[in-house]
Subunit: 139 residues, 4 copies
Amino acid sequence: MVEIRDRVRFVETDAMGVVHHANYLRWFEMGRVAYLKEADVYLNPLMEEGIVFPITDVSCKYRSSGRFDDEIAIETTAEAITPVKMVFNYTVRRLADGVVLATGRTQNVFTNKEGKIIRLPAKYYDKLSQLAALDKVEC
Amino acid sequence: MVEIRDRVRFVETDAMGVVHHANYLRWFEMGRVAYLKEADVYLNPLMEEGIVFPITDVSCKYRSSGRFDDEIAIETTAEAITPVKMVFNYTVRRLADGVVLATGRTQNVFTNKEGKIIRLPAKYYDKLSQLAALDKVEC
Amino acid sequence: MVEIRDRVRFVETDAMGVVHHANYLRWFEMGRVAYLKEADVYLNPLMEEGIVFPITDVSCKYRSSGRFDDEIAIETTAEAITPVKMVFNYTVRRLADGVVLATGRTQNVFTNKEGKIIRLPAKYYDKLSQLAALDKVEC
Amino acid sequence: MVEIRDRVRFVETDAMGVVHHANYLRWFEMGRVAYLKEADVYLNPLMEEGIVFPITDVSCKYRSSGRFDDEIAIETTAEAITPVKMVFNYTVRRLADGVVLATGRTQNVFTNKEGKIIRLPAKYYDKLSQLAALDKVEC
């Protein structure tokens, strides 16, 4: 599990006075990027090699409303890592009281720039699957 | 079914050269607002009465990548309308070739400003459920 | 002058209940894209040729607050078009009462993908400068 | 001068492969919020008292392109603090090489929820003007 922390930006609120729900997908993305970094996998070199990683599936359950300036923790765990896809789970928690604001799940595939599904090269996959194996042990 | 049309904005793209996936939630919201309008239900008066409508659930399957300046159609249908929640389904289609970019589903509940679930007043609910009934007939 | 119309999206509001100020830059961009299209200049082919058009300067004066669902007009005029830069002026107006919400100005330069300033090819520049000349006549 | 640090999010990039220019306004806002906090002024209590703080003016000069995952510093200084307005200056710098990505300036006024300009209560103004006085001394 990889945790990052951030604060709700003012621009992330809406006229109901709470965080707009689309922002959770941005936070999941930040969690995913941090998870990959923890595995020593960086997206810029991947893109330079012509590998992209479109999202194919996302879901989110909203449990409590985040508000401006809330300090939040975004916890990311790998549900499945294969050479063709990555599935992650997320929990967004407010630090002040530990309340879960949302939980979610995403699936990415690896493709070339023409959109054809490809296998993630072993130099990346091995590092990623090793970190993901630790998530299983933790559970 | 209520359809609206729009064009992909440049700001909606990301460094992979395609629409960033979080924007589909914004488009679903526009579809939902248009659906409610079609039923003669407007969000500003609702909020003035102290009724808010937080999203509790969202999911999206991405099927093809949208690109800058693509003209898109957002089709919204009601799956379930009750006095305490609204469930909508969405299809986002590229107009040039009819390709489905994404399909999705959202659930909103009605609450007061303190976050307590409330029943949507009949003056709104009746209009909304009448329009939703037509979606059933269409299917 | 090229005018486009749109409606304030819910996601474009913030916890003060009004349009978040950063959205006006997105609307200026939409106005600019529409202006270029009116001159028969499209950004996708430009980018395919390796021409990009970074913003170097932006300013905005906010005069009145936009609100959710306001119908707005974005008026774009060219202040200066040269082979190396484009300067545009914008007025965002609420259609219901004609009130000006904001006025702004942007400057773009043309560069290659390495960020070196280049001259816009004549096939684009000629069309763009012809349309811009009409703005002078109108004033 | 108050400095905060952050990283460019993937969602903040656009199809030119760089940070979309509208995001700098979001970063300025984060700098401004941090500056106010340093002066012990928090926006949530202000809003609960019915005081809002709309932006009336913003400008930004873009000097170099930010890219995904760049670590950035946002430096905020007060140019002028009066009971009716706040003017701030910003510099956004990439930490890896110290390059300035953008400089900017914003003006906020204080208003009630009906949009009428009001004077910031002394309990807030005094703290804010004391911190701002230090910026003058630093220059």
